[in-house]
Symmetry: C2
Subunit: 92 residues, 2 copies
């Protein structure tokens, strides 16, 4: 179920570095280089497959940006917060 | 060395599906699902490491978009066309 903006703002308080803009949750994770960034992308992919919920992933030389929304609900749901929290844990 | 726009337009004729916009080369590769898309990202990463030249990579559920430019030259160079061609070959 799609969350209201106030519910999203409330839940964001439990996450570090995530923002809500453009109808999605987004966070940029900096990395020292490409290898570390790529390794994180692969960890995120494992999480996404396990949850059957997939973020958009932008891989750059020294950073990975994750964008989470639930297409079927056209908005942010509890699944996106679950995904975000698990990706944070995997970022180490 | 940064290529002129006319050089870029000329070289683009040898590539399929690549566009030049916003100062970079860009192509979207569709895939059937996440696993295929992720496998392509990892092949692109190997190519990028071998060339020591890294595109920005957007991984989505059913597509991968590559964006190539040479930051040190603030534009598109022959290295970007080399990278683009090799990624096309790896897309199968």
């Amino acid at each position: 179920m799609r969350l209201s903006e106030s519910e999203i703002r409330e839940r964001l308080k439990d996450l570090k570095g995530w923002t809500y803009a453009g109808g999605r949750l987004e966070k940029r994770y900096p990395f020292r280089g490409f290898t570390d960034a790529l390794a994180f992308v692969n960890r995120v992919a494992e999480i996404a497959e396990a949850l059957n919920h997939h973020p958009d992933v932008l891989l750059q030389y020294g950073a990975v940006t994750l964008m989470c929304l639930t297409h079927s609900e056209n908005g942010v749901t509890a699944k996106d917060f679950d995904l975000a929290g698990r990706c944070d844990a995997a970022a180490g």
